[in-house]
């Protein structure tokens, strides 16, 4: 199943070369599959940081005022160099990092991650 997800990631990366990274996480924030295009990417340290970060995010969300709280649907970050977005679907989190280019706004990224989510869920039989 995870090999299928990796194949989906590889195909998407070919289709959209501006993508810097793709990852699938479980509900505890553990990285199940990743495909990263950083020159000195360290999978272990990134996975460990992400798992810690996920716990912090869960704590943070649990104390938010009830008018805006509820489960996390999407987490996005814009940096000078890149956009990062994670969509949470059921038991999984799907993350995309993409180069921050003028023609690639946050709205476009939203559509890209929705399409990736559709393909990944199909690959894992959800």
């Amino acid at each position: 199943m995870l090999n299928e997800v990796l194949k989906v990631f590889e195909k998407i990366k070919q289709e959209i070369p501006q993508i810097l990274g793709l990852a699938l996480f479980d509900r505890d924030g553990f990285m199940l599959v990743s495909l990263m295009d950083f020159p000195d990417y360290d999978r272990e340290s990134t996975a460990a940081f992400h798992a810690d970060l996920w716990q912090e995010i869960k704590k943070f969300i649990s104390v938010l005022p009830e008018e805006i709280d509820g489960s996390l649907k999407r987490l996005s970050m814009e940096l000078d160099m890149a956009y990062l977005q994670m969509k949470v679907v059921g038991e999984y989190g799907i993350m995309v990092a993409i180069k921050n280019e003028k023609e690639m706004g946050a709205g476009a990224l939203r559509e890209i991650i929705d399409e990736i989510t559709r393909r990944v869920l199909k690959a894992i039989g959800e």
Binding site: L20, F38, P39, D40, Y41, D42, S45, T46, F49, L53, E56, I57, F60, I61, V63, L64, P65, E66, E67, I68, D69, G70, S71, L72, K73, R74, L75, S76, M77, E78, L79, D80, M81, A82
Partner: protein
């Protein structure tokens, strides 16, 4: 300048009923410069420090822990962090005042793109008036 920012934020909060709180973080001093809450009971569950903590964890510790150069460099150029939840959004936005990040808590009735444009426009006017 902080007083002008506070006045603008108070106006915004009255104008947009879905805006539940606004928090201004001084990232250099790692302190909360300003907190505005629509409903005081909301504050019972959360404090400004919780927002400072999560921003610090994601952006600053992310830089320290990112072993690869690209991620470290990328995280230095922070612009925005958005949590989309079932009932609303929490948006951390870098604003036109050096070292400050604005946190907005808005309900789903408010479109986040509209909100960010409005906030940016109001703060830009304060900045231009001060320059």
């Amino acid at each position: 300048m902080l007083q002008e920012i506070e006045n603008v934020l108070k106006e915004l909060m009255q104008e947009i009923p879905g805006c539940r709180f606004l928090i201004l973080i001084d990232t250099r001093r790692k302190t909360i410069a300003l907190e505005l809450w629509k409903d005081k009971t909301s504050r019972n569950r959360v404090s400004g420090k919780d927002f400072l903590h999560i921003l610090d964890y994601v952006v600053l510790r992310g830089q320290e822990r990112a072993r690869n150069v690209f991620m470290r460099k990328a995280l230095r150029g922070f612009r925005e962090l958005t949590f989309e939840l079932e009932r609303g959004y929490v948006i951390f936005t870098s604003i036109p005042f050096d070292n400050f990040v604005m946190v907005s808590g808005i309900t789903k009735e408010v479109k986040p793109g509209f909100w960010k444009a409005l906030l940016n426009e109001k703060l830009r006017k304060v900045k231009n008036a001060g320059d």
